[in-house]
């Protein structure tokens, strides 16, 4: 059974995909890594980013973090504030 999750995109990830918000359908037991694998399939250019992190509900998440359909997920390319 699949569930939809929404993914926010910023900076270079938005430019590479042309999207600022994606709705992805993932397996119910999907983890961060599974979502990334799916994104890389749809948008192979994302794999070029040298260090892509993922935030879940506003916190950096590990690759094995379990996702739910209520999560606010965001791709975090290398930051460059300041």
């Amino acid at each position: 059974m699949n569930s939809p999750v929404s993914v926010l995109l910023f900076g270079i990830t938005r430019d590479l995909t042309g999207q600022s918000l994606l709705s992805m359908s993932v397996d119910q037991e999907a983890r961060v890594q599974d979502l990334l694998d799916q994104l890389y399939q749809h948008y192979p250019k994302l794999a070029d980013i040298k260090s892509l992190l993922v935030a879940v509900n506003g916190e950096y998440a590990e690759r094995d973090h379990l996702l739910t359909s209520k999560d606010e997920i965001a791709l975090i390319p290398p930051v460059s504030g300041g």
Partner: protein, 136 residues
């Protein structure tokens, strides 16, 4: 005080916000848009933030600075949107009783912001553009 704003950063009001009767030292760091990066002329910068998370990450940094140094007051303001040469992108202000604490906490905060806070800067040159740090 922690803020992300699209308005120009107001140094005078940030300073007022830092002042307290116990403060003997205030260190104020300003990050300014320069006209030149790697010898390529910059027309403007575009900053964007994942606002919600950027605020909470900056709060974590401020809390950690509070644990490490006896800070009386702090102000962290990051601007987003389009910035031109000479405009302020970020202001970090620390008030403390003694100066060493203000300098060290201020430097810790700006160094850490640059590492962990989800804010991105695109440099727009006369002949192209680039997301800083991100490019393959």
């Amino acid at each position: 005080m922690i803020a992300i704003t699209t308005e120009p950063i107001d140094v005078a009001s940030a300073l007022q916000n830092l002042q307290t009767e116990q403060a003997g030292a205030i260190d104020l760091f300003l990050g300014v848009v320069r006209d030149n990066t790697k010898k390529r002329p910059v027309d403007r910068l575009e900053y964007e933030a994942y606002d919600r998370m950027a605020i909470s990450e900056m709060q974590k940094i401020a809390d950690e600075a509070h644990r490490q140094w006896p800070i009386l007051r702090y102000t962290i303001i990051h601007r987003t949107g389009t910035l031109r040469t000479g405009e302020l992108a970020v202001l970090i202000g620390i008030a403390s009783a003694h100066r060493a604490d203000a300098f060290e906490a201020c430097r810790y905060i700006i160094d850490t912001i640059k590492q962990t806070v989800p804010i991105w800067k695109k440099e727009i040159f006369t002949d192209g553009e680039v997301w800083v740090n991100a490019h393959p």
